[in-house]
Symmetry: C2
Subunit: 287 residues, 2 copies
């Protein structure tokens, strides 16, 4: 049992690892009248613990947009002693929650959070995958919800080279919507482009955090390179200039999947949360 | 260009290979007021060729039920000279049809049919796959539309052994709804059960043809074996007695995918069609 840092005490924090098919959701974040992942998760929790005004203090590592999928997302909730009593003898496991959730959301694991854990602020990295079916890829209707169809043939080797040039601690202003007082500097640790055995092109990215729409803008730029509308050198110049451009588009979300959240060792969780919280409140960058 | 056997002449037969996600379809066969694969395909064809009273003589190899998917289905259409003129200069290729079809149906290939070809009556075999996610399998919301969830752990080795015992030219009366004057004898050529690297159990079957619901009844019986509610020996006895039983259930369709249709060499197509047609009209077995 954990006392979350900064709570008024008596609360117990649980980490929830989950996956979802984003197709039929208006994104993660709760919105009145819309079907969201947060909404259906809170509803399932309410069935066990009763209603909670603060939505069980639910906080998520990656606030995914409408249509974006997750193969591995992480969030946490805080339960008070009364709620813990209502839990009864059956532990709050994946099975119990999955019985209350729709099939397009599946809980992978529920665990008591270690000291200092915060799903959002302790996270040190976010990984995404973007999947494209180009003209080389045989059509597969079962993949229609999960891949972006590009009618032309893409040169995935050029795309991989372009992707490599973007890796590093850089200003990604060319790929982010500018926001007052917010930095667009990010540490992009990984950007790999590979064509799988099915013919689909998979773009794998990892960063400390991504600005809003940053992955989809990067993918748009790589598609422009793959279609030979943009050279690797032109893309590098755009990146360095760090200004929005009309040379590529932010692609639609359906090929996008949040695939992993990284956390430091347990002993460093609270430290990392403190660091991230300060950085966020100073710059309010979106994660 | 082909003169289909038995046609009044002047018609040109095209073979269409296609795939679909069956989730949002009320099956293959056209039904008034319902969304069916045949319905959306005829609608796409009408956009090129104009309306056709006889639905372009569309005939399919495997009339899949509501919710059943196809990774490889085959059908044919017959076009008359006026319709061929309307086709214009662009050939009737997969790309052209896919531009007119919803994303959950994809045409894989369109080709002029060889002499004597009939998508249904020339077929010598149908292959299906049934995919199960049991308690051993990590939950995956992206697979929810394509797998049957079984809450218990299944013994896939026992299921494989049970499956093997069903292979052969046998009376599958225990797995078929009885129909007046219809035979329930089928040649089951393959029945393999394997757990894949993802943890899903895949049951692969091939037969000359399947009775209605036969695959889903066989899968139900294998699940009973996998859960150890039924022994391999008991299943063999049930099969030999060839009578409907309450020992297992016909499972729901969503784990089921039609995966291949086999045809003989071109020279034998007409012969096979003649044979199958006679057999069907004598016994009217469902394929």
């Amino acid at each position: 049992m954990t006392m979350p840092a900064g709570s008024s005490g008596g609360l117990c924090r649980f980490r929830i690892d989950l996956a979802y098919d984003g197709t039929d959701f208006a994104g993660w974040a709760k919105q009145p009248g819309l079907r969201t992942v947060q909404g259906v998760l809170e509803q399932a929790l309410s069935q066990i613990f009763g209603d909670d005004e603060d939505g069980f203090g639910l906080r998520v590592a990656g606030r995914t947009d409408a249509g974006v999928h997750a193969s591995h997302q992480v969030c946490h909730i805080d339960l008070n002693p009364q709620q813990l009593k209502r839990m009864g003898r059956t532990p709050l496991g994946a099975k119990r929650l999955n019985g209350l959730l729709p099939q397009d959301v599946r809980v992978l694991e529920v665990s008591e959070a270690p000291d200092g854990f915060d799903a959002r602020f302790s996270a040190t990295g976010r990984s995404y995958q973007f999947t494209i079916a180009d003209a080389e890829c045989p059509p597969d209707p079962k993949r229609a919800r999960y891949v972006l169809e590009v009618p032309k043939s893409l040169d995935e080797k050029l795309m991989a080279r372009a992707g490599k040039s973007l890796i590093g601690l850089k200003d990604f202003g060319a790929f982010c919507k500018p926001r007052e007082g917010a930095t667009t500097i990010r540490s992009l640790r990984k950007l790999a482009v590979k064509r799988g055995s099915s013919g689909e092109i998979v773009i794998s990215l990892e960063a400390d955090a991504f600005c809003h729409n940053m992955v989809r803008a990067i993918v748009g730029s790589l598609i422009a390179v793959g279609e030979k509308r943009l050279t690797v050198e032109e893309l590098t110049t755009i990146q360095v200039e760090a200004k929005r451009t009309s040379k590529f588009k932010v692609v639609e979300p359906k090929g996008l999947t949040l695939s992993a959240i990284s956390y430091p060792k347990d002993a460093d969780l609270a430290n990392q949360a403190e660091k991230a919280r300060n950085k966020r409140s100073a710059a309010e960058i979106s994660v």
